[in-house]
């Protein structure tokens, strides 16, 4: 739905601008000129005359188009940097898996009292719930359950206290797009054979095995030992994108087979929090469903949403209390895309202010030019130029200025889009500046848009001076010194 929306508006604007321009110029040239046959030749000549008279005052022409140059260049640069940083954010969300639907067990708030008294609280998703998800058939390609134990992990005297032990199935790797740096991830057989195997996140491996090769070593969790069979590649934490999903850092995770976890640790998860003990019976902490769809197509998005709604319906039927939480990253993606569209439009608006200011500069200089060339206008009128010819001459001059300015600005803007991030990286390399990399993605539409707008600015702000010039009385104009 909104896939085409962010791109549509600038195209529409640009198209409208260009269309209006063509109509206006076409009207000027064609009205009364059909039959003489010299229309295009006339235009060419007007343009060459305009260039000639602009060339007479090089510095003045340059200064008067400077505003347009800066305007065009800043429209392109701002929109490109805006686009780049937003795409960065969108990539972040896509990394979470835009086709995923995440259902998590949440402790209902009214149960906090019972928990503190030491009873075992039962809540959250059950294995039966997960069985229900089989009903989706082929549209859901993976259903990955996981149980999370906040527990200490030991190797010899080294302890990783802030790690998360995640019991899950082999599909977890694909769903969360984890890459292995060494060894292998869990496989189906580990689960069925209840093997005590584990896979370490990059940071966990680093903490526990700073010097040794972790593969084949055994780490201790509670009273059991698990052999390390793989290490995950270091990975950027996903950003906390609001809503219920906190930022996830996969680097301190330790993965074990889910059936093994049930057998070794039981159904009840004990946690110790600041002196008090709590015990919770949670079958499944989280389930991630991967929908078999393409998020780049509207149909794919609809499928993801339909599955999300269906999951919600199933869980509402089966759970009296709301002890679960459904997150659809696609919603966030669309929200971010809408935000991007707004942000880009805002950027363009701010930058177009400078185009308008540039236009005022053009108008100012054109008015001065008309006064200065009053005599020339008189001569031309005496030699047979019509009002229309004078309008055309000055309008073409203004449009030629802004068009050249727009094109120069576009070249500078495109150069800036490529050069500034590079220069920034170099400066960061020398440690002269700090901060994240500047993401920039060339916003192609903005080039057409800004050049069209600057041409349009030439027409709009050139019209009044041209009209003033044409309105002059030929005799008065000839008498002008």
């Amino acid at each position: 739905m909104s896939a085409s929306q962010p791109g549509l508006n600038p195209y529409l604007l640009g198209g409208l601008g260009a269309g209006a321009l063509v109509v206006l110029l076409g009207w000027l040239f064609l009205s009364g000129r059909i039959g003489h046959g010299g229309t295009s030749a006339k235009l060419r000549r007007s343009v060459s005359l305009a260039v000639k008279s602009l060339w007479l005052h090089k510095l003045r022409s340059f200064l008067s188009v400077l505003g347009i140059i800066i305007g065009t260049c800043s429209v392109i640069a701002l929109m490109s940097f805006g686009e780049g940083s937003m795409q960065d954010a969108l990539e972040d969300i896509k990394r979470q898996g835009a086709t995923n639907i995440i259902v998590r067990s949440v402790k209902p708030p009214d149960d906090s009292a019972t928990a503190s008294r030491g009873f075992v609280t039962t809540y959250g998703l059950t294995r039966d719930d997960i069985g229900q998800f089989d009903a989706f058939g082929a549209s859901v390609s993976r259903v990955v359950p996981m149980r999370v134990f906040p527990t200490e992990v030991r190797y010899l005297e080294r302890i990783l206290s802030n790690g998360r032990v995640i019991a899950t199935t082999p599909d977890y790797q694909q769903v969360n797009k984890l890459e292995l740096s060494r060894g292998r991830f869990l496989v189906e057989a580990d689960d069925t054979e209840l093997d005590n195997y584990c896979v370490l996140g990059a940071e966990a491996a680093d903490k526990l095995f700073p010097y040794e090769d972790p593969i084949g070593q055994s780490v201790g969790m509670r009273s059991h030992f698990f052999r390390v069979i793989g290490v995950i590649k270091d990975r950027m934490p996903t950003g906390g994108t609001g809503g219920s999903q906190a930022a996830e850092n996969f680097n301190r995770d330790i993965y074990i087979p889910i059936s093994t976890s049930r057998r070794r640790f039981g159904e009840v998860i004990f946690t110790r929090t600041s002196g008090s003990r709590s015990a919770e019976k949670v079958d499944v902490s989280q389930v991630t469903l991967t929908v078999d769809a393409q998020v780049d197509t509207p149909e794919g998005r609809a499928t993801v949403k339909a599955v999300g709604d269906e999951v919600k319906a199933i869980l509402e039927k089966r759970h009296a209390r709301k002890d679960y939480d459904i997150t659809v990253p696609l919603d966030k993606l669309e929200e971010a895309e809408r935000a991007q569209a707004r942000f880009t439009a805002l950027m363009a608006m701010i930058a177009s202010i400078s185009l308008v200011v540039g236009g005022i500069g053009i108008m100012n200089i054109m008015l001065a030019t008309v006064t200065e060339r009053t005599r020339e206008i008189g001569i031309r009128r005496a030699l047979g130029a019509k009002r229309k010819d004078i309008i055309l001459q000055f309008l073409v001059e203004a449009v030629v200025q802004t068009t050249i300015g727009g094109l120069c600005g576009a070249v500078i803007g495109v150069t800036a889009v490529y050069a500034i991030p590079g220069a920034w990286d170099v400066l960061r390399g020398w440690e002269w500046v700090s901060g994240p990399a500047l993401p920039a993605k060339l916003h192609v539409t903005s080039i057409f848009l800004s050049v069209c707008v600057s041409v349009l600015v030439g027409v709009c702000f050139g019209l009044y001076p041209a009209w003033r010039a044409a309105k002059l009385d030929p005799i008065e104009a000839l008498r002008h010194v």
């Binding site: 010299g38 007479l56 005599r375 001569i379 030699l383 047979g384 130029a385 019509k386 009002r387 005799i475």
Partner: protein, 238 residues
């Protein structure tokens, strides 16, 4: 000879600061095709205004102005431009060349507004005209690189490029020294002999002597209208 210009009861008033100035007060004049007319008179006599009206640059307050058979007094601004472009050639006191253009481009200027295609043929015509006025070796010069007499000759070439029915001169020798003035007037006389109708404004008697007919204005009325064809013939040996 048929009349190329005929004005009937021509009245022209200016409104200056709430006051009406009666510049031309009912002129009746007729100029023949192939004539060479000098309009004379003291300042404020209305000679320049008459020339502007004849040149379709100014509107008349009342009366009629026939250029050939056409009444131009009722024409629109665009139509007047068209008349200037097709039938009239102008020579000004201060030459009025465009400084950014070369000699050839200045000569070409009136063709720009005729809606015809400018090509090699028109270009060679402009070059031929520049050679006719003796500027064949200065085709690519700009006006500021030329002397006053040369500039006025460019202006004469420019006034000829559209092959006009009527050439109007507003003190064409006003800014020139005597020797150059004679050169210019000789050139105008040559043009007149080749069939061009010329009407010029001047306030110098020795310039007016070059014309075949001298019309003197005073206070917006015709004071005298003398043909000095005999004189011109006498001068031919000069």
């Amino acid at each position: 000879m048929p009349a190329i210009v005929r004005i009937v009861d021509l009245v022209k008033n200016y409104y200056l600061g709430g006051q009406t100035v009666h510049v031309l007060q009912g002129l009746n004049l007729s100029f023949d095709e192939g004539d060479f007319v000098a309009l004379m008179g003291p300042s404020g006599s209305g000679k320049s205004t008459l020339l502007n009206v004849l040149g379709c640059l100014d509107r008349l307050t009342s009366g009629q102005y026939f250029l050939g058979d056409v009444d131009v007094s009722e024409m629109s601004d665009d139509q007047l431009s068209e008349v200037r472009s097709t039938y009239l050639g102008f020579i000004f006191q201060s030459y009025n060349l465009l400084p950014q253009y070369t000699v050839v481009e200045n000569v070409e200027l009136p063709l720009l507004y005729q809606g015809i295609k400018l090509d090699e043929a028109t270009k060679s015509r402009c070059v031929a005209l520049a050679e006719l006025v003796g500027l064949g070796d200065r085709l690519d010069h700009r006006p500021l690189q030329l002397s006053g007499g040369q500039q006025q000759r460019v202006a004469i070439a420019r006034s000829l490029v559209n092959d006009p029915h009527l050439i109007l001169g507003d003190e064409p020798t006003g800014n020139l020294d005597t020797k150059t003035s004679v050169e210019i007037m000789q050139m105008l006389r040559e043009l007149n002999r080749s069939g061009k109708t010329i009407i010029m404004v001047t306030h110098e008697n020795d310039i007016a002597e070059w014309a075949r007919r001298v019309v003197r204005l005073r206070d917006g009325r015709v004071e005298s209208d003398v043909r000095n064809d005999t004189r011109t013939i006498a001068e031919m040996g000069r």
